[in-house]
Symmetry: C2
Subunit: 763 residues, 2 copies
């Protein structure tokens, strides 16, 4: 148990924190360091690797059922319009078309927090759902869609936040600011802060809309078995989908089974049931056949979410010794046609020590696809602006950017006042700087010789990541010593199956080949949270440990009873018990289970409660080295050093995979990704993977991942924090700062496309 600590006492009492590594609230002792363990921290190949590499893995997209039918969606071609009438009679006459639903014949199901319906007569962006057809094939369904005639009344549209904020175009009756007002935050006295400063500076940054683009498109296969709805869904949250389906369809959660075995990636847009899933469920019910609905790439680009753009105005006050006295953040983001959050100020509130902070941020409706959480929502945009701004401030007062950050380092969460469980960011700065050779950077930005100019930059990272309850795991130990695990989670493709097996193998000392993991099935796994917010590993791994430790306890008590000895007279080692005295083998799992008159031993583990006296966050810094071709404006990222404090490494292989993926996604965000809207027609010009530029293998830099922690003893019984989001957060900021260091001109608007580089250099 943690020592009971009054929160107030620690507000700004930083020194105390050095000792908290000793305190733990968990009933289990911290594990040994990874090098003393057999499975944890090692490069373990995925247990689902064969399935994936051999092509036998069945993703939702691959699900095929006897008698399956296919649904496709008719979407609005207009950015803002009212549907006056739909005539589907021609489409219905097409042989092989089973059913068509739209506003005239479908139930009026509320959508987007009640701001719209499954089928709304007011369509508010190009891609908004108008009708859904189910037929014998996708081709037939597409053909039928072409035969539906829709009468639209075209309305004026606003596709950028600036335009929408003028409120001339009516997107929602309530006006175009989400919730009618900005999000705000304030601490200290911002004016006093600026007064205390030796230097006050302000600047503006902007980022563009980015598309999630997981490899596997959004898709569902649905089938009714009587009044039970079976849904295979490419989702990050099987229980989340079940819950939203139950509400949409008005049926009990117990009558819905959501299954997701493998997924080709999910970055925040797959956290709840999509309209497509509900439409497929309605159609399947009507026609009495299974229905598959898979969005094509264009639909994915238009209609399932994106990272909102941002315009961020930062103002900072700093003393000449580098002490931050005040930070303010004014921003607005276009979140698309339906309620979503576009805030990106969080890093500014917590990344650095600053007593006086003020935030005002507007989420603005526009006639574009809706914003959705996207890998570290807000933080990616926010850190780009904040850490660019920090570099600017540092330069203004003549300080090294790293030194400036260390000057404003904090071990206390600036918002809650709670101490961090652990924070090894200093280590990250130190190791990262060494690996990138920080001293090699241009002392005078842009001072390199030749047209290929190199530069080095860095940015910091903060993110939640300690996970928490509720999360449950059932462990079944079979008589032959093999194990089946049912865990309340699902895999995004990041290695969840494997770390679950690793934890159980480590604790139970059972070969990992003998451990089978089932996740992603609401009917069969105990409850666990959606896989978002980097919560999966820190929520589930401790629950696996709990289940495995309980199982070991059962084996101990069973063995002691059978052998008629005290538990402390025997040792457990890899499935067998030995006498402590003479090291003789006494009894194995098989015999224990049989003698206990059991066949399969079952335990249920739970994620323990968090220790609310502490704030658990992950930290890190990424260092980028870039080469800018100043003739054509191209930026090549040569190297990224990612140094992070993410607690214990569960699997060095999948950890690196996650970092590679996050960094590459951050690189795309920094250099090329942006949704381009034609303001005049309201149409998206690059809703495909050819025109929407993403990094390819050609763009992959050298990546070095440095993990500085052996485990956060307070975070949870495994000492683990999530890594999905930390990986991407600082990348764009580090690249932008490196580009500035290379060319000596700061471009404050992402992506850093060649035209912007050339413009900034030669205009």
């Amino acid at each position: 148990m943690a020592r009971k600590i009054k929160k107030s006492r620690f507000f700004f009492e930083e020194n105390f924190i050095e000792t908290i590594g000793e305190v733990s609230q968990n009933k289990y002792k911290p594990l040994k360091n990874n090098e003393k363990l057999k499975y944890l921290g090692k490069k373990i190949s995925r247990i689902d690797g064969y399935d994936k590499a051999s092509g036998t893995a069945v993703f939702t997209f691959d699900i095929d059922l006897p008698g399956i039918t296919y649904a496709k969606t008719l979407r609005s071609p207009y950015a803002n319009a009212k549907i006056k009438n739909i005539d589907d009679s021609k489409a219905r006459k097409l042989k092989g078309v089973y059913e068509i639903i739209h506003y005239k014949n479908a139930p009026k199901i509320k959508w987007y927090y009640g701001s719209s319906f499954l089928f709304d007569q007011h369509v508010r962006y190009e891609g908004d759902e108008v009708a859904c057809v189910v037929a014998d094939s996708e081709e037939l369904a597409e053909k039928a869609i072409g035969l539906i005639s829709v009468e639209y009344e075209i309305l004026p549209h606003a596709t950028r936040a600036e335009e929408a904020m003028r409120n001339k175009v009516k997107i929602h009756k309530s006006g175009n600011i989400v919730r009618g007002k900005p999000g705000t935050y304030e601490r200290g006295d911002i004016n006093k802060g600026f007064e205390e400063a030796d230097l006050v500076f302000e600047d503006e940054f902007s980022t563009e809309v980015a598309i999630h683009n997981p490899t596997e498109v959004h898709c569902s296969v649905v089938n009714w078995e009587g009044d039970k709805l079976i849904v295979w869904d490419s989702t990050q949250a099987v229980f989340g989908v079940r819950n939203s389906l139950a509400q949409s369809l008005g049926i009990p959660e117990s009558n819905i089974r959501v299954i997701k075995k493998y997924m080709g990636g999910g970055f925040g847009s797959k956290l709840e049931a999509g309209k497509y899933t509900v439409m497929a469920a309605l159609l399947a019910q009507k026609i009495g056949k299974p229905v598959k609905i898979a969005l094509d790439r264009r639909e994915n680009n238009l209609a399932v979410g994106n990272r909102p753009d941002s315009v961020q105005k930062l103002k900072g006050g700093v003393k000449s010794d580098g002490t931050l006295t005040a930070l303010s953040h004014y921003s607005y983001s276009s979140v698309g046609a339906y309620p979503a959050g576009g805030g990106c100020s969080w890093p500014l509130r917590t990344m650095y020590k600053c007593p006086n902070v003020k935030v005002e941020e507007y989420s603005v409706y526009t006639n574009t696809g809706r914003g959705r959480p996207f890998r570290a929502p807000g933080h990616v945009q926010g850190i780009f602006a904040l850490d660019s701004f920090m570099d600017e401030l540092a330069e203004k007062i003549g300080m090294d950017p790293l030194e400036f950050r260390l000057k404003n380092y904090t071990k206390i969460d600036q918002v809650s006042g709670r101490p961090y469980s652990t924070k090894l960011l200093k280590e990250c700065y130190k190791k990262g700087a060494k690996k990138i050779d920080w001293n090699k950077r241009n002392k005078i930005p842009g001072s390199g010789k030749g047209y290929l100019k190199r530069g080095i930059g860095m940015a910091s990272q903060i993110w939640w990541g300690g996970g928490g309850p509720p999360a449950y795991v059932t462990l079944k130990l079979n008589q032959d010593g093999s194990v089946n695990i049912l865990a309340g989670t699902q895999d995004l493709g990041t290695g969840t199956y494997t770390f679950i097996a690793q934890v159980a193998a480590e604790i139970l000392e059972i070969p990992i080949e003998n451990i089978d993991v089932t996740i992603g099935d609401t009917d069969v796994v105990p409850y666990g949270p959606g896989s978002g917010g980097s919560t999966t590993a820190p929520s589930i791994a401790p629950a696996v440990r709990d289940a495995a430790e309980q199982m070991k306890k059962k084996l101990f008590s069973g063995a002691a009873a059978i052998l008629n000895v005290e538990q402390n007279e025997i040792n457990y080692n890899s499935g067998k018990f030995y006498s402590k005295k003479d090291k003789k083998e006494l009894i194995g799992i098989n015999k224990i289970i049989r003698k206990m008159h059991e066949r399969v031993l079952v335990t249920t583990g739970a994620r323990e409660a968090n220790n609310d006296n502490y704030m658990v966050q992950s930290f890190g810094a990424q260092f980028a080295e870039v080469e800018v071709d100043t003739l054509i404006g191209n930026v090549k990222v040569l190297k990224i050093v990612a140094a992070h404090d993410i607690g214990r490494t569960l699997n060095r292989q999948t950890l690196e995979n996650q970092f590679h993926g996050g960094i590459l996604q951050g690189l795309g965000f920094a250099l090329m990704e942006e949704q381009i809207v034609d303001e005049y027609t309201g149409k998206i010009l690059n809703a495909n993977m050819h025109d929407y530029k993403m990094p390819t293998i050609y763009d992959v830099p050298e990546i070095e991942v440095v993990i500085v922690s052996e485990g956060d003893k307070i975070a949870n019984n495994m000492g683990v924090k999530g890594i999905g989001e930390p990986a991407i957060i600082p990348t764009a900021g580090a690249i932008a700062n490196a580009v500035y260091n290379a060319i000596g001109v700061r471009i404050k608007s992402l992506p850093l496309t060649p035209d912007k580089i050339i413009d900034s250099l030669y205009s």
Copy 2:
């Protein structure tokens, strides 16, 4: 907790037993009587009724997978032969044939307790497996089988036990008596018993081989996903199949998933993996495709088991007042070509009070299909002989058969000396006799007028049936108050899904529509036993109750914590808590779960330990009224009254269904079912449903089911005992006694076919 009782104290102290109804070892109070409950004991339609009635239910036989292939088996046409060679080259050339396995190329997997192999060069009965072909279709596979040439050395055969016991035909090297010796049992002093008797009498009875013939044939669909084997199997024991597959294939149990959602009946022949499942698994692994293998009706009749025949010689000693002094039982049964048990003496050991008993029973190898457990194995044959014999003894000493049985009634298990938990057989006799109008029977057998002669007879029933641990159930209570249950069991088609939902609905006071049940999937349900021996309901229902009671406890403590009241200040009623004081509604499930910061509450229930101070058995008596057409020898069963003590009725509807099924199967056994073997060729002459006579709808008598118990308070926390086997046990005996009562001639050999009736009447 039960009072601790020394076993010896109760040996023959019958009077004590009257009070044991008050004693319970369970942590939960006995439930109220059924009439005071909402779901239990009622006629509740099956929750899987829609699926079944609409034809949408997917049975193993219906499983279809993309790319599925089909396997068929080449079987020996000879009763005893050695395979000298197999040439499959022609068959392999057939387009669409993927693979063929047989003794030459398949792994040497031990089978039948090591007495043979998966593919053995010595084939020992018509139907023994020789090779297995997988192809694009069943037709193609059949065609390929026709192209395989097998060189046999035909050996002499023995198809009847009498012949095999001579040991001239070598079926196994060890000789033709299973285990080389008879099963024996003895208590008291048999000779002394006969000496004490006023009358000693002996007689011989026989029964024939009967075929299980479930509606759904034996079948499996197997698919390898990497090194994980997925098996859909028409089985009574998903964990049993998993275990036997793991042993046969030499892989961990955790790498095998056995699934069985719905099944078209299983009567004991589906308790373990069949050769067909292993062959399909081997083939699927070789060809990298899913394989379906479904035995046709002929294969089912030949190769998956049967009820062994029996020849039973009974000898009894009785005093003139009706007291049994001695019973002996000598029997032999042909159990087919591989080890199986054919014993049928158990009823004689336990049904009636008798101090001196001796048993000697031989299981004999023959060159026929192997015996397997078949609904009340041994008891069906045994009670026919015993209760026929009891009627004979009663007649000899001039006593009413019922009175004679009451004279030898016991409340103490005659073998273990333990008292029965409850035994309400007297009630069964009383109520059954009243319902059939026992006094209407012919005082002088055969004395009825006319050629259509009616008669009334009865027989008793005893069977295990209290179930026991290990059996587990996981219960998940969702935020919307709906429930998902995972129970360690599987459904044979008898209503298991429904009673599980009923128990949870009753205890949690939640509408049964909101309860979803998952069973029959080794990867996802906690452990539970195979569904055989009438153990399912008494093992699983108490575990469901335990899980539900734990859940209610969680809700109570959650509600009390949130409301800040003592638990005894609040009442629970149908998902909501009320103030005891003013009956005001305080809080519901949804809010409790949210306030507990949970989403789904999970509990795991277990079947409590049995109270070993008692013997739990089910009891009953069936009364038959028959009409014999003495001109053509046809027996028509007019009515069966089934009066049983099976503890609490869970579902009156499915209970009646079970009794109807059991009685009809018993009627078939009594009147028409028998496998006919041509002794000269060793071939089965009626391996199909046309020539193998079974009852049809035309044969269904009026059936009245009388349940005398409201629950066995000692058996388990639900007071329930199994009913699958009790239903069939006394039927044949009752019918045989009724036929004797009708025609005055006793036919001691089942089935009572017209030819035997005519022979007995006119020869």
